[in-house]
């Protein structure tokens, strides 16, 4: 009912177009179509088609050699019922993405807000300091030097020197330390696009709102943040959430760089790693496609749910 009302108000009643009218419309907009075409053709090739292929093969037993047979949901039932490693991968993904995603998002928000309190020059320098780790590619590998497994690694050397440990710890091979260390490194690299977007979002808020709010009885910066700034920044909150969620799920390469692949005792084996294992090593493409499809659905659902929640901010 609501939907109908909206349509009546916003649009002229929709009439079905004849084929000829459609053809003229397309012909009139031919330049517009041509301008989108190069981008869209590549986008279809490297994004849309792969997703469709992935969904299709997830219902088959494709192995790169024999003609694939339809096995329907067998890959999916095998994943959940007969693959213990996959359950470990789910657990690790939930922990890693569930910790680094939300905390990373909050860190981005908090530091962007805090930096907004400083003068533009100080802000520019601090922005660089926070943003640099996420753009400098391999820089996270410095953690393999800091936490190197031999006694010349910085952390090991000092722990030995201070008498805390007797022999060097293999930080990135010891299942006890791998998870927390990986989380620290991921958080270190998490102030990326979301962070910049928040910086821009805070700068975009009209200062007169704050003055008006002060007159209306807002007493400190926390109240100001909650009652004035947040509701004005909904669009930034949404975009940053998308960036943070996508980032939280694409942690595979960073983990590989730190602990190698596969990780010792599957301690930080994520769904992405499981996918690479079956797709890139064992060539069980049907099974790998089922993993990819699940991961794809998981990411999109996560995004949609979070967006629903953010829409509620300030309402």
């Amino acid at each position: 009912m609501k939907f109908k009302l909206k349509r009546d108000r916003d649009q002229e009643p929709r009439r079905k177009l004849t084929k000829k009218e459609i053809a003229t419309r397309i012909w009139n907009d031919r330049v517009a179509y041509l301008m989108v075409l190069p981008y869209f053709a590549l986008f279809v090739c490297f994004t849309v088609i792969p997703v469709l292929i992935s969904i299709f093969y997830s219902f088959t037993d494709f192995n790169m050699i024999q003609t694939p047979n339809f096995v329907w949901f067998e890959n999916y039932t095998r994943l959940f019922l007969r693959d213990d490693i996959f359950l470990i991968a789910i657990r690790n993904t939930v922990i890693l993405a569930g910790v680094t995603g939300p905390i990373g998002y909050l860190l981005c928000f908090f530091f962007a807000w805090a930096l907004n309190e400083f003068t533009p020059k100080v802000r520019a320098v601090l922005t660089l300091m926070f943003y640099a780790p996420s753009i400098s590619g391999n820089a996270f590998l410095v953690f393999t030097l800091l936490f190197s497994g031999d006694s010349y690694g910085f952390i090991n050397a000092w722990l030995i020197k201070l008498g805390v440990i007797n022999s060097p710890i293999l930080w990135f091979q010891n299942t006890q330390y791998m998870m927390p260390l990986v989380i620290v490194v991921l958080l270190w690299t998490s102030l990326g696009t979301s962070f910049l977007n928040f910086i821009a979002g805070f700068q975009g808020v009209d200062r007169t709102y704050y003055e008006a709010a002060a007159v209306d009885g807002i007493r400190n910066r926390w109240q100001e943040l909650w009652y004035v700034t947040l509701p004005l920044m909904k669009e930034s909150l949404m975009f940053s959430a998308v960036m943070s969620i996508t980032g939280a799920f694409s942690i595979g390469p960073t983990i590989d760089g730190l602990v190698g692949f596969p990780s010792t005792g599957y301690a930080v084996h994520t769904i992405m790693h499981h996918l690479n294992d079956y797709g890139g090593q064992r060539f069980e493409m049907g099974y790998a496609s089922a993993i990819a499809t699940l991961l794809f659905v998981l990411m999109v659902v996560c995004n949609k749910v979070i967006q629903k929640l953010i829409r509620k901010v300030g309402n």
């Binding site: 179509y33 989108v36 994004t47 088609i49 400098s136 590619g137 010349y152 910049l196 910066r221 794809f296």
Partner: protein, 286 residues
């Protein structure tokens, strides 16, 4: 300056100071690992072997950087070749991405043609997952197009990065007024002319942002999945190999990490204000 002072309502000196301290503490924590990489890369051999390692360097030297280039130039594939590969892919990929994505963004933001909303909505949807998920089918597509083991396997997907198109489209929508385009049309300018001479100069911050993001992505790309010839492999790949060599090359490893991070950081320093300006229109509309 006076305006800034005046508008600072609801701020207490105590709050300002404690906030500054918290921010500085974390900024410090963020920088420490990078600082460590830099001092390690500047340490001469005898200082690298001091136990326990020092957090400063007494006699800084560029020996490690020299080693990185000289010794590795004697290896099977010279280090300069990896640098060339990555530079070539980064420059071509970035250039093509900016042009192709801007054209599409202009069309999507300013021409409401049939299907434009649909096209844009699947592009927004693609922001919500990483392309790493579709690595295997992308490989199949590449194989059918005979792009495997060529630069194109890295360059072409970069052309169609969805984040770049999204940022450009949102920025054009916010910055370019329909009236200007209408006026140009009345003066007899064609679509391509409007795009190049009117729209593109107006969204300069946005294409600078696209350049930075695309360049960062390509500079850091490993591309190991699609490329197996050693002499086509990327700098990032070479660096990871050097770092994993362990203690014997600790200095060179640090030097290679520093070398990798200089360029993206330098590019960001020069374009920071443009990026922030572009980001101000990036929000997802309801």
């Amino acid at each position: 300056m006076a305006r800034v002072k005046k508008s600072r309502v609801n701020r207490s000196a105590g709050g300002d100071i404690s906030l500054l301290l918290v921010v500085l503490l974390f900024a410090f924590l963020m920088v420490i690992p990078m600082y460590y990489a830099i001092i390690q890369s500047l340490k001469p051999l005898d200082e690298l072997w001091i136990f326990p390692p020092r957090f400063w360097v007494a006699n800084p030297t560029f020996k490690n950087f020299q080693d990185l280039f000289q010794n590795l130039n004697d290896s099977w594939v010279p280090f300069s070749r990896y640098i060339f590969n990555t530079l070539f892919v980064s420059i071509v990929g970035t250039f093509g991405h900016v042009i192709i994505a801007s054209m599409a963004a202009y069309s999507l933001s300013k021409k409401r043609f049939m299907g434009s909303n649909f096209v844009f909505s699947i592009i927004v949807l693609s922001l919500m997952f990483t392309t790493a998920v579709t690595g295997i089918p992308t490989f199949m597509v590449m194989k059918n197009m005979h792009f495997i083991d060529t630069y194109w396997s890295i360059i072409l997907p970069a052309f169609s990065s969805s984040l770049g198109l999204y940022l450009m489209k949102q920025h054009m929508e916010a910055m370019v007024k329909d009236a200007i385009i209408e006026a140009a049309k009345i003066d007899g300018a064609g679509e391509m002319r409007i795009f190049w001479t009117i729209v593109m100069p107006m969204v300069k911050p946005a294409w600078l942002t696209l350049i930075v993001f695309s360049f960062q992505g390509l500079w850091n790309a490993t591309g190991a999945t699609y490329i197996y010839s050693e002499d086509l492999k990327s700098l990032n790949y070479a660096v990871s190999q050097i770092v994993s060599a362990g203690i014997a090359r600790a200095g060179t490893a640090a030097a290679s990490i520093v070398f990798m991070m200089i360029l993206p950081i330098a590019v960001f320093v020069f374009s920071q204000s443009s990026i922030v300006e572009t980001m101000s229109s990036a929000g997802i509309k309801e």
